[in-house]
Amino acid sequence: MGWFKRLKDGIQTATKFKKEAPDGLWHKCKSCGHLSTIKELRENFYKCNSCNYHVRIGSYDYFDLLFDDSEYELLLEDLVSYDFLGFKDLKPYDERLKAARKKSQLKDAMSVGTGTIEGKSIVIAAMDFSFIGGSMGSVVGEKISRAIDYALQHRMPFMIISKSGGARMMESAFSLMQMAKTSAKLTLLAKAGIPYFSLLTDPTTGGVTASFAMLGDINFAEPKALIGFAGPRVIKETIKRDLPEGFQTSEFLLDNGFLDFIVDRKDLRDKLAELLHLFEIQSSS
């Protein structure tokens, strides 16, 4: 027998009366539960100190991490999505966009920055998972397309950091066509002899994997990222058995021959500098 008696079952505090722990002080690792301060996390390249889990970060975080002195110029910030189909599921697309903009403080699921890494110029397009699951709609496609034009014009290497659930359903076939559009545009870089690096981060699935993410002259990934065409849940439902350990991770893709290498986030900047050094573009062509 317990020495006190529970008067009411369950937790009675309504969510709105619960006290929130202040954001931005502590971070609990999703993978191992290790607690660290945000400061420690940032100093460790947004990786868990204990298990090296790579926390999902945004486009600006990558730009800060990669460009010399964290200095870069943002391009194409004027492109915004709108609900041209009047798409409504449980929520209208229009409202989803507004909510995503408010929550993420971003214009869309992709930002494009240009700057230097160890003195060498590069254009980087990076995706944000916090904006409707990093989904690819018309704006993502157009940003890639115009970023490629910029890279061609300035003869700079191009990189995309993918982090996406796939195509944006609320733009229906328009989002599907972004696969064709981005892939077609990438051929122009190849023809001009400008290297394209594709970094796949957690998660990269669906139409994004099946277009630009898999088309790099170099395809590389952060450790343990989920990378695939179909999502694991769909595959499980299709084949009706459990998926093997490590299925659709970066390591799985490396082993199956679809990645050139895996890079820890702390080495990312050095690795890119080395790639830029090796792929040095001749200024005249």
Binding site: D89, M169, S175, L186, T209, A210, A230, I239
Partner: protein, 349 residues
């Protein structure tokens, strides 16, 4: 005959017709006026039904069990055809078929999704869901077409690329991406037709072309209505709604400027008159290939890339000013509407 749920009024009319015919066969009564009247009634009813099909009804028609598949078109379009198997790396996919054929004297490389015609064959064909080796076989054949200067004809009919474990191991995503990349620069004309279902990456994996058309009762979308319903509504019950929301019909797609035209089907759908459907397609293919083969290679490729470059709708924000709408797809020069309104009424009469 298989009747879809919205065709039920036709079913009872056909039953009546059958009964009257039986009476007629027994001899005594002249039933021909009654038969004529019923046949007219059936035709009128059919026109009435087919005049206002919803998105979901088009989806149902695209999956009609009697609908002609790729092999049917190949068999009747070509005077000679040799099927070519295998991707040369892993195996021969059964959901994407391809080969060399002569269409009215012109050698063409034909690739397409193939569905099975009965339960056993549907399994054998994996319900038209290709594995990576299917896309790689298609690419191998397209590269051969390029070497010999043959145009490529692609027939699209898939509920999606196969979401299986082995498909992931062998790089489903890479196979589709590679095809998009290579098709963008292929040095010969690529002519695509959605002949049934056009679902997502599985469809576009053989669907990037100079000219892309949809048959009247087909659909093309980023996701099937069922999957869309299950993801966005978290239940399978909203497929009709999803089909409307996705705006996936040929008419929608043409209006958006994402396809180059609509091929109108015989009244009652492609399956109602399979021979006529083949002839409609034959005429169309010949006309398109005549046009495409007259183009210089560089022009062909740059136009192809420009076409896809323009696909997308977004706004351009002007700082300090009001938002200006940019609708890049409206910049597209209006493509000739292949199946014109006139042709449609011809088919119905």
């Amino acid at each position: 005959m298989v009747f879809l749920d919205f065709e039920k009024p036709l079913e009872s009319l056909y039953e009546q017709l059958e009964k009257i015919r039986q009476v007629g066969e027994k001899g005594d009564v002249d039933v021909s006026p009654m038969i004529q009247e019923l046949e007219k009634k059936i035709n009128d009813k059919r026109i009435e039904i087919y005049d206002h099909l919803s998105g979901w009804q088009r989806v149902q028609l695209s999956r009609h069990p009697e609908r002609p598949y790729t092999y049917h078109y190949i068999k009747h379009l070509t005077s000679s055809f040799i099927e070519l198997h295998g991707d040369r790396y892993f195996k021969d996919d059964k959901a994407i078929v391809g080969g060399l054929g002569k269409i009215d004297g012109r050698t063409v490389v034909i690739i397409g999704h193939q569905k099975g015609v009965n339960t056993k064959m549907r399994q054998y064909r994996n319900f038209g869901m290709a594995n990576p080796e299917g896309y790689r076989k298609a690419l191998r054949l397209m590269k051969m077409a390029e070497r010999f200067g043959f145009p490529v004809l692609s027939l699209i009919d898939t509920p999606g690329a196969y979401p299986g474990l082995e498909a992931e191991e062998r790089g489903q995503a890479e196979a589709i991406a590679r095809n998009l990349f290579e098709m963008a620069q292929l040095k010969v004309p690529i002519l695509c037709y959605v002949i049934g279902e056009g679902a997502s990456g599985g469809a576009i994996g053989i669907g990037l072309g100079d000219r892309v058309f949809m048959l009247e009762n087909t659909w093309y979308s980023v996701i099937s209505p069922e999957s869309c319903s299950s993801i966005l509504w978290r239940s399978w019950d909203h497929k009709e709604q999803a089909a409307e929301q996705l705006k996936l019909t040929a008419e929608n797609m043409f209006e958006f400027g994402l396809i180059d035209g609509i091929i109108y089907e015989p009244l009652g759908g492609a399956h109602a008159n399979r021979e006529e459907m083949v002839e409609i397609l034959r005429k169309h293919i010949n006309k398109e290939l005549d046009m495409l083969e007259g183009m210089e290679v560089d022009e062909l490729i740059s136009k192809r890339i420009e076409k896809y470059e323009k696909m997308g709708r977004f706004m351009v924000e002007e700082p300090e000013l009001e938002e200006a709408e940019k609708d890049s797809s409206k910049e597209l020069a209006p493509a000739p509407n292949e199946g014109s309104a006139n042709q449609k009424s011809d088919d119905h009469s």
